[in-house]
Amino acid sequence: MNSESIGCAVLFLNYLRTQLNIPWERILQAGGATLAETYANLGLGSDAFAKFRALVDRHFPPGKPSAVTTDNPFPLAA
């Protein structure tokens, strides 16, 4: 666990909460050993990282400084 892995995980949680508008109660109720499992338990499918990464990459192109100062830049235009 380091800042990079936590950064990815916290971004994903905020993506669920703010981008997909899922209440915390439901996210927590879904449980799961990994975030992908939580995503699947929420009935959203098995492509958690791919969809998340595609959205983030569109708004914050890889290789360029993101200039993001918070853990929750969502919602982003889909």
């Binding site: 995980a9 993101s66 918070t70």
Partner: protein
Amino acid sequence: MDNLIRLSLYLILGAVLLFGNIWYLRALRSLFPSSDYVIMPIRVVGKEDPGGALGIALAQMLQARLKNIAENLADAQQQLDPTRARPPIVPRPSPVARITFAPMINAKTITMPTSLLEPADIKLSVAGVEVSGAVAWLQNLLVRQRTLAFTLYSADPGRMVVAGDAQVLSGKGDGSIWFESAESQEKAISRLAYALLRKRLTSVGGERIDDLLSLAEFEAFADGLHEAAELSRKIDRGGQPRPEEFAPVADALAPVAHNATSLPELTYLAADLAERAGEAANAMQLFAEFKQAATAPGASDAVRALIADGTVDGKLAALAAAAKQAGAFDFAGTLHGSTEHFVVYYETALGSAGAEVAGQVLGKVEADYARLSELFGGVTLAQPFNVVIAVINGARDGTGGAYHKGCNDQTLYVGVKLEPQIDSDRSSFFVVTQAVDVFAAAQGKHAECGSSYGGARKRALAAELYPKEITEFATAKYWLDGARADFVSVND
């Protein structure tokens, strides 16, 4: 002559009638027990009981168990009565060269400031033991106003339902009894005895026990009081019970005491037992709760006296020092106060600034707890949190962070922000981060707190409650500006 014979016959007949009437009245009276209440044979549904023998046996078991519990309660109250004359305590001589790391046990006997319960004053007998048929029907009919009738339904294997009405015992209020049991038939009868006593008893302050304690709490309370009395008796005989003997009694009574705030005598007893068990943090919380409860209008003189004469303050000060000495906390702490779910300390070296932050944190913890419980689907925790506000990693600017020693460890060490100015929200934010781990562990369906998922969970939820505080700790940029590896499908 005829008149004399007739008079003699009348006299003889009158005497026979008189004796007959006396016999009749005695026989009639003997049908109805002199007890206050009659337990009808327990109706057993789902099991063979053709002659009704099982029902009568269960009723007799109930009668015996109820008497046993009531006597234990009365005995416990008498044993724990501080005004009771006791034999002088003669400690056992210790071997000269004995070295021990066990804490010194105070050989002073265990007491409660005042009695807790009014006497049960309940006399029971079992109906239908010696009579049957029409006579039993008549007995049932004539004593119906004071009968206790129960049904034990055991249709499913491993599960039974006990139901009945104890209105005649409780006098007023809800007299119904209904509980399910997955234990043995004997255990169910024992639990029924507790349920009946719970309906019957009132506190010395006049409150009904069934309004104050749930059935499970009452069982823990009655058993705990009995065990405490046994330990007290052991001390009276010159024995020195070990901390591990006090611990289970203290642990059983503490949750009951936390909930029954109108029974400060119980809180004091639980605090005393926790202290003897070496559970300094629990003892401190219970003494702090006792101190708060003792200020209530209905508190007894004996309870108030323990506050007025400094007994409780003295214990709290000694425990705070002991907590540090025993290594209970990583910092020398000062107890600031407690709520239902939190005991808040601050590092003593922080002085008045620590007290200020602790006071503000204390004012927010219950709302935060309620919100977290809501987010985690109504999860509640059996034990309270200990929060120690301290300078962590040498930081006084709020960047020190927070820690606890395991996902379900409820002693939380949280950093403090005193510079450039005091910001108690920073400490509250830290409290939430660590409390999230404990709630998640209690819910039992999440990635463990030390994983990247766990680290993200605590940050995201703490930011939900204290959104301004996350700014300095935001980590999203590290991933966005890095290789963007997949930590969604795997944990780090």
